[in-house]
């Protein structure tokens, strides 16, 4: 505020301009965040805000952070981003897929401001993109699920039929089938990222079909709460650790941890080495974290899951390694071949063995 009042008097403004060179070095880097939900959603936006708090702790008064929460995707996002850039933000993280076009538009108007868009695919000189390889975590969950299911039926609550979610379903099934050839997977589409009532209904429907392991690609704790009502049904935390449901039904979790990436990028912006990149970090980069595997899981299964996570982390194993066929039986990956990122980013098919169709 003080800085703004100062700038209002034109004399002071002149002084400020003449001192701009050295003054800039002293100015804290202003880092902005735009969230699609409230920061109290305990899921997606909450985890991004944890990342914001992490950079505040890491860099102290070298930086200053601002955020806007519950910003609707579309026209409002473009205005919110413009206002943020005008208020002097130097680096802005836009944390939802729907902010893609607004981010590109606003970035074109503010070439000196750096933008980072989560989960999108459009880049520019001052727009980088970043996402996490959630499917790596799914591979670990799939291994646990394959061992733990007694009915040989695992259920998956999908949010929307987009590549990121389809990667998760495929990774889960491939690894469940590896340890349990008889396993089947049922997918229910909830068409929401966060709607506890719908998610609970989906979980209920799956349990009634005889499913005893539930995975969710939606962000609330409702599927776990539903699993808790039936003896012998287990599930996993999603986006957040969801430890309230441990040791069972929550036997492990996939945690989105954006802190390492945010710290790295802010450091680069401070050093002047920031460039537009496309980052897709996973377990190895610390962006995808496997939550503690509880005692409800037998020790040898736990050890196998942890070994798999470690192998994915040090890149000695890729969750999509051939031989793998597509659902229709056509060949996808040959023996030992590894899926390329382009195919994964646009994944719109199930692997062989999954029943049902992807809604189009």
């Amino acid at each position: 505020m003080q800085r703004r009042t100062l700038l209002k008097s034109s004399a002071a403004a002149l002084v400020a301009v003449s001192l701009a060179g050295p003054a800039l070095a002293q100015d804290p880097l202003k880092v902005g965040f735009i969230y699609v939900g409230p920061i109290g959603d305990l899921g997606w936006s909450y985890q991004h805000d944890q990342g914001r708090l992490a950079i505040e702790e890491e860099f102290g008064d070298k930086i200053e952070t601002v955020y806007l929460e519950s910003v609707p995707e579309g026209a409002d996002a473009e205005r919110a981003l413009t206002q943020m850039a005008m208020q002097g933000a130097d680096l802005i993280f836009t944390t939802s897929f729907g902010y893609m076009d607004p981010t590109i538009n606003v970035a074109a108007k503010f070439p000196d401001v750096k933008f980072e868009h989560a989960t999108g695919y459009k880049r520019a000189d001052n727009v980088a993109t970043y996402n996490a390889r959630f499917y790596e975590g799914r591979a670990v969950m799939g291994t646990i699920a394959g061992h733990m299911t007694k009915s040989n039926k695992i259920g998956y609550i999908g949010s929307f039929p987009i590549p990121e979610v389809i990667q998760g379903i495929n990774a889960t099934f491939i690894h469940a089938q590896k340890v349990n050839p008889d396993v089947e997977i049922s997918v229910v589409w909830a068409y929401t990222w966060f709607d506890p009532a719908k998610e609970a209904d989906a979980a209920k429907a799956l349990i009634e079909q005889g499913v005893d392991v539930i995975l969710a690609h939606t962000d609330s704790t409702a599927p776990l709460a539903e699993a808790a009502k039936t003896e012998g049904v287990i599930g996993f935390g999603q986006a957040s650790d969801m430890l309230d449901f441990a040791p069972s039904p929550r036997v492990s979790s996939i945690i989105d941890d954006w802190s390492p990436y945010y710290i790295k990028r802010v450091q680069e912006a401070l050093d002047g080495t920031w460039t537009s990149t496309d980052t897709w970090g996973g377990i190895g980069e610390g962006e995808v974290v496997i939550g503690e595997i509880t005692d409800a899981v037998p020790a040898e299964v736990k050890a196998e899951a942890e070994a798999l996570a470690a192998a994915i982390g040090d890149k000695s194993y890729h969750p999509f390694t051939g031989p793998l066929n597509k659902q229709d039986g056509s060949a996808w990956l040959a023996e030992g071949e590894v899926a390329d990122d382009g195919t994964l980013a646009g994944m719109n098919f199930y692997v062989e063995g999954i029943k049902g169709d992807i809604p189009q």
Binding site: M1, R4, L7, K8, P38, V66, Y67, L68, E69, S70, P72, E73, G74, A75, D76, E78, R79, A80, T82, Q83, M84, M86, Q87, F97, G98, D101, N105, Y121, F160, P161, I162, P163, Y191, A345, G346, M347, N348, P359, Q360
Partner: protein, 360 residues
Amino acid sequence: MLKLERRPAPSRLWTAATPVLAVIATMIAGGLLFAALGKDPVEAIRTIFWDPLFGEFASYSRPQLLVKAGPLILIAIGLSLGFKAQVWNIGAEGQYMMGALFGAATGLAFYPTDSVLLFPAMVVMGAFGGFLWAMIPAVLKLRFGTSEILVSLMLVYVAQHIMSAASFGMLKNPEGMGFPGSRNFQHYPAAFNGELIAGTGMHWGGVAALGAVVAAYVLLSRHILGFHIRVAGEAPRAARFAGVSPALLTSVCLGTSGALAGLAGLFEVTGPAGQITTDFASGYGFTAIIVAFLGRLHPVGILLAGLLMALTYIGGELAQLTLNLPSAAVQAFQGMLLFFLLAFDVLANFRIRLAGRARA
């Protein structure tokens, strides 16, 4: 003891004064709320009401007021006609979505044409989509006596599902790498509703909103239909004697409000929003109900109320950015506005008397 005594006719003075009083009371109560959150209340109120108009970046935010207020005014004008005649269309949000869908689908069907006839055709289809959606409650009311309040509201949720299906299915961008959402109209010049004069924020939606204000004013003060609408609301029995057909009036009111909401949706999707997405609707249809009442169901009042509402949105964002106010506090602030308006309405319809004196 205070006693409320019904006035024979609403006080003209108080009817005009209550919106002003409501705004002042909201500033006071809101200031207390902000103070309780540990923010400087004067600073917060100034940021919300003053900065968007006269602050450092007003050259950007002033045009944005028009962009935000345009659809609100357009929808509210339509709603006010019905509300005056006691026809309660609560589902403008659904009509807004259907207008956007019909118009956008028309435009996308002819991609990539450069015909000058395309945009007018889309405008007609947009209005038609909204009209059609609003005629469902009208027909059901006339044929079966259903409540237009419930039917129009429920149709919002139906529209939301159609919107979702369209962005994943028939209107999905074929070049969008499988991600949901239609093509962006920004890259489709024949269908794009851009600024008419650069830097003013005025697009066809704003022109339509101003046109609707003038048309509604003329209709209500000069035209026999306007007279029928007023009479039907104020004295239904007298209206019947005056030869007003309730069926026709219901259809006209619902149809007109639906068509205007559809237009608003079309101008929004082809302009500021740019594309059909699952989250396209951002509550304009519901906020317009507040705008209609805040503007006393009077065209000029609605024009001012729409601008005021837009001011609280844009100022609210600024307050979040510069003062770190939580978005929920800004929403509560907007809610107070309607609350105080309704509370002060008592003064327009009732006289406050001391009970003891009245008896003597």
